[in-house]
């Protein structure tokens, strides 16, 4: 037989089964970390947005010589050496017996081998010219495996032209490294 609760018992049960609300002093027992987390997220987003992480690379070069023109000539008189002179109007490529002409095959008096294109130094043009020079039958044997080249730059040429030049003489396509990877720098005074 089931038992029933009296009215006073029901009132007692109702009172005791009610969940106690958390008083303000009890709320402080656990840290409220939401504002801190909000600050962390804001700071992290700000840091990511403001720090410009760029992908950098490097080009290693030897110490340049503070003399006019390129460095010393080849020790072996029969050694074929190419010289790239960077001037304001373009590139002059020196070769055995003279200077490369604009067709990059003939050698004659000094002339602009690779002229500016749209006012800028023509890096791809210089690359093509050097490829032609390397494939020139009299020089092919030596130049195909040659890695060093002389680079002489005019002092008032901007820095980015040097980078363009180094890129152009180093490889035929990005990352190939199949041309002259050991430039020797000099400055034209």
């Amino acid at each position: 037989m089931s038992s029933t609760f009296t009215q006073s018992q029901r009132a007692y049960i109702r009172r005791k089964s009610r969940l106690k609300p958390i008083t303000p002093d009890e709320e402080g027992g656990e840290l409220n970390v939401i504002p801190f987390l909000d600050m962390i997220i804001n700071v992290m987003m700000f840091v990511l947005a403001t720090i410009t992480t760029v992908f950098t690379a490097m080009i290693t070069i030897p110490a340049p010589r503070a003399t006019s023109g390129p460095s010393h000539g080849p020790e072996d008189p029969d050694e074929i050496t190419l010289t790239v002179k960077v001037v304001r109007d373009g590139y002059i490529v020196g070769a055995p017996g003279g200077f490369l002409q604009p067709n990059c095959t003939d050698v004659a008096q000094a002339t602009l081998t690779v002229a500016l294109i749209a006012g800028n130094h023509d890096g791809p043009g210089l690359t093509r010219c050097l490829v032609n020079a390397r494939n020139n039958p009299p020089w092919r044997t030596q130049l195909q495996t040659r890695r060093n080249i002389q680079v002489a730059v005019n002092g008032d040429v901007p820095y980015h032209v040097l980078i363009t030049t180094l890129d152009a003489i180093r490889e035929t396509r990005p990352g190939a490294g199949d041309m002259f990877t050991e430039p020797a720098l000099g400055i034209l005074q």
Partner: protein, 190 residues
């Protein structure tokens, strides 16, 4: 005559109280999330990010005074002493050394030999100090002193200034040069 219903005992009352409390608990909504673990993770990530990016050699602050040219080179830079040649000054590892540029050129009064000279005196002094420190560190750690220096220069700086910087560094023990560039240029650069 019906028997009277017995009143509930104390135990039954307690059971009823317990039952009602549990019923209320199950019906509760979740009012707060425990996000301490997430906060811990975010803090660690933030500290790690700040530390890594501030020390990374890949972190080159770009501005109007320092726009590094692009290159097709794919060689990753190694951590080394940084000489920054911006449009207005030359700094070593971010520290000013008193060399200020005008139109991209060093004041002749700061060069040995005047306008025709290549050695920049304040830079030479700083590089000498850096070489001493680097050599002492190399001696203590047993590592060889490699004399590496990374040149970070604005794209429009005249090459004369770059050469002067390179020459000055080379005269003071730093002759392994790395020109730091941005990846992504074609053969024509930019």
């Amino acid at each position: 005559m019906a028997e009277p219903t017995p009143h509930a005992t104390a135990g039954q009352i307690q059971r009823e109280i317990w039952r009602r409390k549990n019923k209320n608990k199950h019906g509760e909504e979740i009012t707060s999330l425990n996000i301490i673990a997430m906060m811990d993770m975010m803090t660690i990530i933030l500290v790690f990010l700040l530390k890594t990016l501030s020390n990374s050699s890949a972190n080159i602050p770009q501005s109007d005074d320092l726009r590094v040219p692009r290159s097709s080179s794919r060689v990753d830079p190694s951590g080394s002493l940084q000489v920054i040649v911006s449009r207005v000054s030359i700094t070593v590892n971010g520290r000013a050394i008193g060399v200020y540029l005008r139109d991209g050129l060093v004041d002749p009064s700061q060069k040995r030999g005047g306008s025709a000279g290549f050695l920049i005196n304040p830079l030479a002094s700083e590089m000498r100090n850096q070489a001493e420190v680097a050599r002492a560190l190399a001696a203590r750690t047993g590592q060889p002193f490699r004399g590496e220096v990374a040149i970070i220069a604005h794209r429009d700086i005249p090459l004369r200034t770059i050469y002067e910087s390179l020459y000055t560094c080379a005269q003071n023990g730093f002759s392994n040069f790395q020109l730091l560039v941005l990846k992504g240029g074609g053969a024509a650069g930019s």
